[in-house]
Amino acid sequence: MADINIESELTGNVWKIVAKEGDNVAEGDTLLILESMKMEIPLMSSDDGVIKQIKVKEGDILNEGDVAVILTA
């Protein structure tokens, strides 16, 4: 069991949080949806695992490289 940081790959707003802490997720599942330059971009899980912590809330601004979600895989 290891913690994996899911980082934002772009600068944008957190438009919608799709997953919840404690959810079982698979690689490629959408965790939250970011909005940048009028586009909705999903932030997807990089691994199978359980969501340990969601570090953002809707409306937050994320910069490239910021950790949005911590996954236990």
Binding site: L10, M39, I41
Partner: protein
Amino acid sequence: MSFRRILIANRGEIALRIQAACRARNLAWVQAYSEADADSLPVRSSDHTILLGAAAVAYSYGNAARVIAAAQEAGCDAIHPGYGFLSENADFAADCEAAGITFIGPQADIIRRMGDKATARRIAQGAGVPVIPGSEGPVSAEDGAALADRIGFPLLIKAAAGGGGRGMRIVPDAGSFARAYEGAAREAEAAFGSGAMYLERYLEKVRHIEVQIFGDGTRFVHLGERDCSTQRRHQKLVEEAPAAGLAADLVAEIREAALGLARAVGYRNAGTVEFVVDMTTGDFYFIEMNTRIQVEHPVTEAVTGLDLVAEQIAVAEGQPLSWRQEDITITGHAIECRVNAEDPAKGFMPRPGTITSYAAPTAPGLRIDSHLEQGHTLPAQYDSMLAKVIVIAPTRTAAIEAMKQALAAYEIEGVPTTIPFLLELMDDPVFGAARIHTRYVRDVMWKGRPLQQML
């Protein structure tokens, strides 16, 4: 009537384009801007400017009350909304008229009717324009199953309140219908708070063909069609005029259908009637009408030699349309490529940032519409389009070659752009054969590449 002064309620390249049209008509303008755009080229190239508010769209270009107040403060008697923002907001158009300011666009009622998909579909059917076979509104699972047999398979179940592919299922045959309906409705309920579903024939491979029309309320013309089939996330990346590889009688039918719709609503202003052409059957169907100037209007200007934005202003002043159908000729072939601040290698991910180096190419037949310059910072609040590269040449082959040269010589540094993708597309044999369909970029060009699923 001649306008005293126009408020330009938009930003970026379209603001500069409207300024050029004002110059062409010897009209004064006031450039509206947000805090994020205070140092932008459209603001610096204007003698008169007015601050709308903070960068966020809700406080600036999208704030109807603030835009109207700004027009009044600046002594403007007309507002040009450009595209996006308030350009297809019927309430805004009505509020402008109520405030004694001319909205440079169609009447509020037409925007409202054509903006409502169900109403626009009914108007199109009334005008004899083909629409995609489907239900006339939401249907229950039981009624839908009976209707599905009449519509035919494959068909699409779509959330009435939906968008972005959520609450949508492709149903290959009657046996799969009930289960697909239940799944889509559940997804739609969770995503949009409504499980209302409607049905539509599923068209696997379509080209997106649209017709530029213009009207003054009594006279209507078409300015030919554009092919906008190269898309990602349902957004256009490349447009060309005329559409290549379509039978002449089909093109004539599509143009006439668009004119029929314009006549049916007594259209006034520049407008675009959008269709899909089923590549399997050759049938065409109306999908929607855009009641504004569009991003891709320059390819039509290139092949007709006309100034569409100046004509929008003239018609809004109450002048009759300058052109009769017989005045309009289509000459040569034009292509427009949208250069966006996106990283094609990462699923066309948007990339705000600062332009560290900028040099635009020049050549005969090349037009670049852009507000870009070295040092310009791209705000995350607005869309990612940096520039439109437009070429006109005697043939499509020559236009593709001219586009390759222009793109290869275009220097934009500081953010990734779509230029590498556009160059690859210009060399693509399917694009070369004018056989691109709307899902080609996602399903064929980007198949197996990273983040394909984002397209």
